[in-house]
Symmetry: C5
Subunit: 356 residues, 5 copies
């Protein structure tokens, strides 16, 4: 995950300029047109651009679902067919927007971050939703099957998704996007708890880098989740009366989730920094331990070695001052006594200092 993941034109470019960025996307792009009403549903793969305008402006509820980044030509064509504000077009092509809500004259444009966890790697993709009276267009750059559950609910007759209007569909899509956070947070929570247990066994550099990785992910997720709350709260206030009373109740549930997600992220942040503190203290504890052992061994043996060194000296003058101890009958045992006395003295002293 890059820290800076916005694509941007050089400063000074006219707003609404549509440049094609090179994007590495190994999944094929797909476009789907879903027309539905309470009692029928029709799905068209890769609809023709020329007929798109009519389809969207018909009386049916229509969902145009674009998976993968559209190229700038397609975008311009679409913008010609159904009037999309140039700033919205630019935002979709540029990517890396902040989750936000933009009321244009007759359309509503919502950008929302959708975190995803593929093979234990976190990625944050973006969902763009654009709606007008009867139609809804979504652009999503991540996993192709992300919003299939909503489509499935739309296919089964009698579900709320079919019975209610476009507003419920918008809610269902947003709800799915936001609830993506829960499996990720569960995964992170488990990782934090595992790290905690690993730390109990003692700190090692591996744990340190894992803690840092989690901290980074939390920073990324926080940046992604924070504006989600604003988006949903603005939709709830619903100054343009897009949402019916009952759907607004569901939006409130969705809003609750965004708050819960933020609170979880905050408590993860606290936990991860508490883990880091624990790591540091634990490492300094080990250090103390190592130093203690070194100090004990050194302070016991260094004086002893010195004494042994003394009696290894070769003073040989014919004088009674020349190392007379060496020729005492009990010299050697006395040195051993000295060794033992010093050692015991040291140990008592360490005990008193509570080192052992």
């Amino acid at each position: 995950m890059r820290l800076f993941r916005k694509r941007y034109h050089p400063p000074g470019t006219a707003p609404g300029t549509l440049n094609a960025f090179e994007v590495q996307d190994d999944q094929p792009r797909s476009v789907q047109l879903i027309e539905y009403s309470q009692d029928h549903i029709k799905e068209i793969q890769t609809p023709e651009m020329s007929k798109l305008g009519d389809s969207l402006h018909s009386d049916h509820l229509t969902w145009l679902r674009v998976n993968g980044l559209p190229d700038s030509d397609w975008m311009k064509a679409l913008g010609g067919a159904i009037e999309i504000h140039p700033l919205a077009q630019e935002d979709i092509l540029n990517g890396g927007q902040r989750s936000k809500i933009e009321p244009y004259d007759s359309q509503f444009f919502v950008v929302i971050d959708v975190p995803d966890l593929k093979n234990k790697t976190l990625s944050i993709d973006q969902l763009y939703i654009l709606w007008h009276k009867n139609y809804l267009i979504t652009f999503y750059t991540g996993r192709r099957d992300m919003f299939d559950p909503v489509l499935k609910r739309l296919h089964s007759e009698g579900t709320r998704a079919r019975k209610f209007g476009l507003d419920y569909l918008i809610y269902a899509i947003l709800d799915l996007a936001i609830d993506q956070a829960f499996p990720i947070l569960e995964h992170l929570g488990t990782q934090l708890e595992n790290l905690e247990e690993e730390l109990m066994d003692g700190p090692d550099e591996n744990v340190l880098h894992k803690i840092h990785q989690i901290k980074r992910q939390i920073i990324h997720l926080r940046r992604a989740f924070w504006p989600q709350r604003d988006v949903i709260s603005q939709l709830m206030r619903d100054e343009d009366h897009w949402f019916s009373q009952s759907v607004r109740l569901y939006l409130r549930d969705c809003y609750d989730h965004t708050i819960q997600i933020m609170e979880l992220i905050e408590s993860y942040r606290d936990t991860s920094s508490s883990l880091h503190d624990l790591y540091l203290s634990s490492a300094s504890m080990r250090m103390n331990d190592i130093m203690k052992v070194l100090a004990i061994i050194s302070t016991v043996f260094i004086p002893l070695t010195f004494i042994a060194g003394i009696y290894g000296m070769n003073f040989q003058a014919n004088s009674k001052w020349a190392m007379p101890e060496l020729s005492w009958a009990y010299g050697y045992p006395m040195v051993w006594c000295l060794f033992i006395i010093i050692t015991i003295g040291m140990l008592i002293w360490f005990r008193k200092k509570r080192w052992i």
Copy 2:
């Protein structure tokens, strides 16, 4: 205590879906129906579902008390008998909600975290309260006897609980749920003070892990207590006029408690991080101490040992340059003088550096 303790459906599931989660709950589930008015009270264990609707919609004040997690079938049956909003049903079955308040069309739904301390282990269970004109339903997943004190007060005639309406009962239940925090905070406070005393004796790894444990518990409790205040403050504003003037006075008392709890938690947080700082500094102090001893012993004896080593060399050439000191009459005593001078010099130097 898990960091992530929400149960959730896979993202994209229709809201209000009631899945039965497997929950390990070793206590039997119990359902109680309490009908009461100012001058009578009747308690029915495990009431029949078919008669439940009539009981709840009668003129008596009725408290349906469910202990333990209801299974999804029972929930659906209840929802059929007395109309419960699907989102409320889902919330109760899912568990792990954030404390919140939900005004549905004709009902009021409150979720509140209830911390509990069993055998020195902290757990946070959830209480769900749902009320309508004449009836009140509570679902509680924790200790079975938690709300018995309220029931007891209801049984004794002439108490406020009997004289006042349903609103007082709601207050009494919430008050009990919130006051649960006090014994826990008292316990934590005592633990913090004990840790402080242990730290006076010197840092050890045990204390470190205890500090971390308390920090974790504080993070959990903070997350649980923070939204409690919002819940009570929203109830106090009482835009739907559920509460009489006098009960609102009691709610204010309850609100005061939530603030007091938050302030205590905050000062515990400060105290625990101050303890952690103390731990770290204290450990680095010990380290300094150990290093000082090691350095003193080493710097005194290493030069001495070197000198002893010199006179242990075996230069034996027939030359006046070959270690003449060894054959001086007073060579040995002179070396001893050197030893003593060096030692005293070192000690004076350490004294000047204030190491000893």
Copy 3:
């Protein structure tokens, strides 16, 4: 000072229950009734309970001053004589409340923390003030003579305390309670400055524990002072018109003091944590110093000792390879040259590394 200093009933107890807690209070309890108007003042020690009701409801301004914790029976009797809200009674008996303001139907109830410094020990006691049209009741659990200065001003004719109404008396009592903070903050400020000077001399464990003690006291005081500001600001807004225009001016002065106190506490907090940082860095500096000395001595003498060790070896084969240096005429002086060269080389290297 305990972290948790609230007394509480077991959760679920009916609000307003008056239990007698065992409190260790070695000072005798005293009750005083002070009746005064602009031109007379009368003081009655331990007034009879039966006549209390009449006294308080007479036209005179009356101050009932209770020093020490009333027992629950006395409280119940008083509550019977002059109608005190059960929640107020409970708060007074329980103690350990958060500073707050409670407007009951016809009475006003204020709880405020009063810090006190006896023999350099910080304690926080509570003052409860209850007033109605003509009377004022204070309960104070701390030092008996705390509010004597106000009484003295009441005794001297012509003072504002006598001329103005009950509102000025309330202000005077609160003002005294709040200004108690200044001598304590002055004491803490002096302590912090002393610690700063002690730290200049070098860190020792004693200083560390003193810093921690001050941090703890700051946490306690912050918790006590923070709500004081709210209390005074609520009184200033004075929605029930208890205070005359001129007394409100004095309250504003009092409010300024609460802000000044909070700002001082905050800057003490910053200072104490800056001191702690200084301590840590200073300790790590000393450590570096010690290590440097150890490293210099060791790295100089260890190679020398090794060389001395070499020439202490006893290879004695009749071979020209068996330590020929030992029999060179200038072997010994050459070794000394080696010693000196190595030492000088090391010192130059240390100098370059800027260790010495």
Copy 4:
């Protein structure tokens, strides 16, 4: 980048005093007058001051673009010709203002920080914009070609810049100024990620100073970006109706960018301090490693050397107590056994302590 980069008159100088500060600016100053309407555009280099007044007050839209700091005389002349508020004149000459918006009686004055990255060195220059009905004056102290892209768009017929009024030109200039942040943030983001990778290889002092440099730049940028948001939000509220409906939409886009920039800066701040923590922990980890090796080698060899020292002693008395081991037949192999046993014992003990 200086921490304090404001130029100021000595305190007490009358406001609006125009002193010429000595500024080192190696680029020549240039003045350009651009007159344009929907279908024509005229550019005059270094216009005569005397005709300036007429040009600005004509019906054409006029942009007077001053690159480099004007001297105080020129400023006074300009102020005479077209009435500029003395405080605005002073602000422009002094420089180092905070980004702000000043509505003077008939003019609007905006100061905005423009960060710039020349040869990997960050600098923050200031753009002053002053506008009235028909004219716009910009003063910019940084790179001369910074606002050329806007001029280019103005030159090409049919662009929004030409079609729309002065308000769009103001927006275009501000947009360019604010979008300057993106390349800089991208650069910083890349630097942070590189540092992260360098840290994986192990901490070294170079990395440390790089982290500190980035922290400093973030502090500077934060101070520069924070007030930008206020400026744009105040313009958006547009209480004086300078901006048309459609331009306000573009301003909202610009406002979104300021928020995005702040959020990026905040997450960079978190990342950089997390990197610093990682650095510290990683360094302490290395330290532990080093100490472990030292301790293992020392604790193994110190006792062995002591034993070798013992049997190097020269006790030679004719007594059976004088080092009898030396004359045992198997004395030497037994010492070697002792060496091996001690070593293996130590290694087992280290293993148990998990040092190796």
Copy 5:
């Protein structure tokens, strides 16, 4: 600079009590009366108290400028002559107030902190401003010539100070007081940058104490500057219509300065704590360096010394097991080979560990 610099009466003293505190002030007190209108100005040194009342209540604009702390008698006399609210009198005599604004019945009272830098020592003095319709009284306890620049501007005819009313004079005085911060902040900024450079050379205890000193000064200045902003913003709102439209414009400029000052202080705070972090990390880096050298030298030589020790042993039994190596012809060269092999092995191992 003392942490606690308020003078206060013992708690419980009646408000408005004027006690003379002993203040060490080595500068003589001076009183000046300045009467001015658009076309004349008159300055009277040490005016007589009896005529003061008339002067102040005349139609001229009058500025009574008191330098140094007035004694309580003088204050009482002044209070008698022109009615000053007792709380204002007390505040002036007590000193150490928080910057604030007090609207008394007919007067306005402003207290503002004025930082000053004499001989590189920071001090914070207080300016008290009291004004009524036609007169302005200032009390300032710091440097006597602080407000001379304003007086000078007043003396030169035709300046705004002379043309505009009393409100401009108030603004000019406040502006000077607030702008005092800039030279101080510039000084601090330079100090921080110097410290940064000193740190590049390596950490030493001197730098540490300098960082702590700057941190302390920042804490003091923050406490002094924070309320300044409130004061100016309250004056700008100008609910009592003291200020004319054009002066309010100047006040806005002044307000901008207070914000700029706060932002600078905040970024200094961040910088100083980032410096402290740098110091700590840099110190731990040095430590690692020292330890590495010690560890390398020790781990290389300790085993060598041990081997030399072995062959210094005196096993002399007539047995082929008694140190046969000693009598081998190539024993000594083989030991040297061992020495060299061990050394090279160690160095390779250190290289692999990247210690060298």
